[in-house]
Subunit: 461 residues, 2 copies
């Protein structure tokens, strides 16, 4: 019989991988909770009518669709069947699909439960999503998203809190990051300023590449995409803007002084940056990581309407590991227009890779049991079970090896699992009532009472 396997693009998570992932999710969850965000969950399956048309034509194709139960052919048009038009046929064969992201189900949730929700609604959600993308390195067909959003308020204090959350999470991970901020209104202002509001996508796409391809190539790309020479000339000062946040803000404010929307965007960013700077605790700025204005940052242009953020790790080349922004119309598509909100999403898979590369997982977060009791036979095991029970009551994770296997095998089990302590209860320990505690790192062995073992190993928190 062939070894069984799993669908391509999906993953099993081993105990060590799960411990690392739990460390990531628990850290994010804890910080979200500190800021009063509350968790929700939505079903893996949504009605296809909820999902279709929300992610563009390409997205529709990448939805996993679930075959209707029972007689799924009943009522299907013979013509559609014979025709082989898979799109139309799929719509008749399937009523449900797997969630593609957490945003659309969240929007659906808000509209469906609008009467029960207390606004502003601060929710977080950590669940898997599924996409029928072509699997490749670092891209999976099942992966987790970790989103937090505040909806029902347009206060910029929410932006400030989300930046604090980002800062706290990465500080806890020990990952040094740069938090980039920009504002969609500034991008709109630029396009207005140079007289080509219709070219905002082309303009932002081109200037987004400034770092990578250089000014000359950006100019060429702008020209190629139909931006006039005059407009490009008016954009030139932008390429010269540099320096710290304040200098950049001053320069872009001057450049966009005539444009109302652009000026609003500048003010929003200024408010967020100034508020963050003012959050001193014990005379120290409470932000550990730099927040940098990046006027070339552009994400989700069709969706975001205010501040946009992106986080880059400083010590690993991996692209964006967190992102988000302000939107003004989350739920319009479900018939509830004008709901403003702001959200962020941590990229768990990339954070996982960064923590691995920098070897930043705390040992106690990823180890299994703290003690293994070696099994020397029935009477010894009975006493081991008793002491293990006592340790667990004190909060110490303990295993008793279930079989009186060869000592070598049991020690190899402890080694493979990375158990830091081993307890040996043999005949002499049965007599004395003491136990032998072996430190697997140093090799040292001590004769102790059960209470002394507890005192030594008890979790400090």
């Amino acid at each position: 019989m062939n070894k069984p396997s799993i669908p391509k693009g999906t993953r099993d998570f081993s105990p060590v991988e799960m411990a690392k992932r739990n460390y990531i999710f628990n850290t994010i969850r804890e910080v979200y909770g500190l800021y009063g965000f509350r968790q929700i969950e939505t079903p893996a399956m949504e009605n296809l009518s909820t999902l279709m048309g929300k992610y563009g034509e390409e997205g529709d194709k990448l939805l996993f669709k679930i075959l209707n139960s029972g007689d799924f052919l009943r009522g299907i048009d013979a013509g559609v069947l014979a025709d082989g038009a898979t799109g139309r046929l799929a719509a008749q064969l399937c009523e449900k699909g797997l969630r593609y992201d957490l945003t659309v189900p969240f929007a659906r949730y808000v509209v469906q439960h609008r009467d029960e929700l207390q606004m502003p609604f601060k929710r977080y959600q950590i669940q898997p999503v599924w996409r029928a993308d072509r699997p490749q390195k670092g891209r999976y067909r099942e992966f987790y998203q970790c989103d937090a959003d505040v909806v029902g308020s347009d206060s910029l204090l929410s932006e400030v809190e989300l930046m604090q959350i980002i800062d706290t999470v990465f500080t806890r991970f020990g990952i040094r990051v740069s938090i980039l901020i920009n504002n969609r209104k500034i991008l709109t202002g630029m396009a207005n300023h140079i007289g080509q509001p219709d070219k905002i996508v082309e303009i932002t796409t081109a200037i987004d590449k400034l770092d990578k391809i250089g000014i000359d190539n950006v100019r060429a790309e702008l020209a190629d995409s139909g931006v006039t020479p005059e407009a490009i000339a008016k954009l030139e000062p932008l390429f010269q803007i540099s320096g710290d946040n304040d200098s950049q803000l001053a320069a872009i404010a001057a450049m966009l002084a005539d444009d109302e929307i652009g000026t609003k965007g500048v003010e929003e960013v200024r408010f967020v940056l100034n508020t963050l700077k003012s959050l001193m605790v014990n005379g120290q700025c409470s932000m550990a990581n730099e927040v940098a204005l990046d006027l070339t940052l552009a994400r989700g242009l069709n969706y975001y309407t205010g501040c946009i953020f992106e986080v880059k790790a400083l010590d690993v080349e991996i692209g964006s590991i967190t992102g988000g922004g302000r939107y003004d119309n989350l739920t319009g598509i479900f018939g509830m227009p004008g709901l403003s909100g702001v959200g962020i999403s941590f990229g768990a898979d990339r954070i996982y890779d960064v923590l691995n590369q920098l070897d930043l997982y705390p040992q106690d977060a990823i180890q299994g049991a703290q003690v293994l009791f070696i099994n020397f036979g029935q009477a010894e095991a009975a006493r081991s079970m008793q002491v293990a029970t006592q340790l667990r009551q004190a909060g110490i994770a303990a295993e008793v090896y279930p079989d009186s296997a060869k000592m070598k095998k049991q020690m190899s089990y402890a080694n493979t699992l990375g158990v830091p302590y081993v307890v040996l209860i043999g005949e002499s320990e049965l007599q004395s009532g003491l136990v032998s505690l072996k430190d697997m790192n140093t090799g040292q062995q001590q004769q102790l009472t059960a209470e002394e073992v507890i005192e030594k190993l008890k979790p400090s928190h």
Copy 2:
């Protein structure tokens, strides 16, 4: 536009529901961890070849199948299409299905990763499963299972530990339970003893109903299902067995003395019960709940081969809330025969209902933020953000209301969310540098420094 909805049989979980569910899952997770069980996760989608044929014909129909991506009609036999045989067609339209339980994916995992696994392998898994069952009260199409298994050892110490885990989990919940134990070998022994080994299913089904329908009806049912009058007569002593575990064990041991398998079953149960009794800590039995031999208990007859367990809540009528047992051939179906193991599964949805009915959720497990800062305007909010940051650094969950809305609206937000404390920073507090802390339960209000607030609200652990 119609209000959007979710597929029947699925659920959204609100913040309060999620907090309660997290309390359940975290408790179970923590106890599993104390015993050295380690978490794994498997993909939501499995190859249909992994799932089909594992749950009987009815189960095959209840699998959610995922339509192949892209041109799913390519290569499909026109005859099969025209024919309308949905079973054969579904197999061609779909390669993948959603996981139906955690056992089959676990078996698949063990075989697929056999070379990486350290035996005995103690794993737990808490993930949703999906079944196209007809939805009804308490039965959902998406629900979580919480399984723990030890595989690769036939030591009865694993049974003992699983009973301890059950006891610890329900003790932490504050739910009083009765843990019922029996052994498949005892059931086999009975069928052998009365000379009808082929009737084991009928016999156990009938005696399982003893409590509900009485002896006479059990006799009638046995006769109806083809058990001979002589065999029924030989079964009579079983109906008379009563008393504590020791008396019952003595009686069934005498009855099955001639039968090797039955006697083995009695010895296994005796070992587990005696070992549990011997686990004294500080002179007290460490088990808080009763473990009772129930000779009529029968579950998963085709699967279990040794001890079987079931847990019933004592203060709520709800049926089994946890179950499990010993099996000898988890992975045979994937070509790896002879792997013994023992496992349990907590019924999270029923435990949720029991905790609700008995009102046993601890307040701090289900509340959101501990403090809400009322927003009186820009300067006051800036100071609030600063104090809130200080509180969070001390581990206190704090929210700042993002808008300077009417006081009444902000207080109603605090009330609805059950926030226990409100901090007010108005003009006079801006002057004094103090904050007003209001206890929402007593209504009392105090002027304190930020440090005093932290001292008062700091989590004790």
